[in-house]
């Protein structure tokens, strides 16, 4: 079981033209900036190729490609290197921007694209589950965010009210 196998498989998919730009998000993406936290799956955000003449994104060719290479399907996941991997199209302007501005990192000699810390934090704020809020707090406590860049993302994507609410709940002594 190794995330590195997932990264190598995704890079190969990109080299083979199955996906366009991609980036790691979720807990695995956050691990590039924070301490490791247990997670059960890998979120890969990717630009999918749509069928000619269609605006509808069809992930089936990706599943077919991976199945032909011995990967199993488990519900919405493809199992690569023992990890359930979920392929997600950029479904909001925020995630579209995160994908466009993702950064290249290196893992033991292997290149990988990852969302910036500020985009991961903004997505966590927008998603808003308990564990997303906990991750956002981790980013803040670790001083992993460029404050000006984070604020500009929040303003651009109309998340300032959500941020004020979050800050009132978690970042003040008198919520």
């Amino acid at each position: 079981m190794a995330i590195k196998e997932v990264i190598q498989a995704i890079n190969q998919m990109q080299a083979d033209g199955m996906i366009e730009r991609y980036a790691l998000g979720g807990a695995v993406g956050a691990t590039f900036y924070l301490e490791p936290a247990a997670t059960l799956d890998v979120d890969i955000f990717a630009g999918f190729k749509s069928d000619p003449g269609s605006l509808i994104v069809n992930p089936q060719p990706i599943f077919d490609y991976l199945k032909a290479r011995g990967c199993a399907m488990e519900g919405e996941y493809v199992v690569i290197g023992g990890w359930p991997v979920q392929f997600l199209p950029p479904g909001t302007p925020l995630v579209e921007e995160a994908l466009k501005e993702s950064v290249n990192k290196e893992v033991d000699g292997t290149q990988v694209w990852v969302f910036t810390a500020e985009h991961l934090a903004a997505i966590a704020l927008q998603t808003g589950r308990a564990k997303d809020k906990a991750r956002l707090l981790q980013f803040i406590e670790a001083s992993a965010l460029d404050a000006a860049r984070f604020q500009s993302i929040l303003a651009r994507h109309k998340l300032l009210d959500a941020w004020r609410k979050f800050a009132g709940q978690f970042l003040t002594d008198n919520p």
Partner: protein, 66 residues
């Protein structure tokens, strides 16, 4: 060892900083190990048991996926 809460919290913060500063390859290997441990504790059957209270996947709003 101390029962002073402030010292305990500070040592936790220091450990988190130390873990965050590890090389990314090492941190990803830790994720591999953490997942194996979590699966061993939970059991695979538990993950697919709909009667168990669990957190929903992130609503990433896959607006255009069929």
């Amino acid at each position: 060892m101390s029962l002073d809460l402030q010292k305990i919290l500070e040592s936790k913060r220091a450990l988190r900083r130390k873990l965050a500063a590890l090389p990314i390859g090492e941190k990803l290997r830790m994720l591999d190990a953490l997942r194996e441990r979590e699966l061993a504790i939970r059991g695979r059957a538990l993950l697919s048991d709909s009667s168990v209270l669990h957190e929903e996947p992130a609503p990433y709003r896959n607006k255009s996926v069929t």
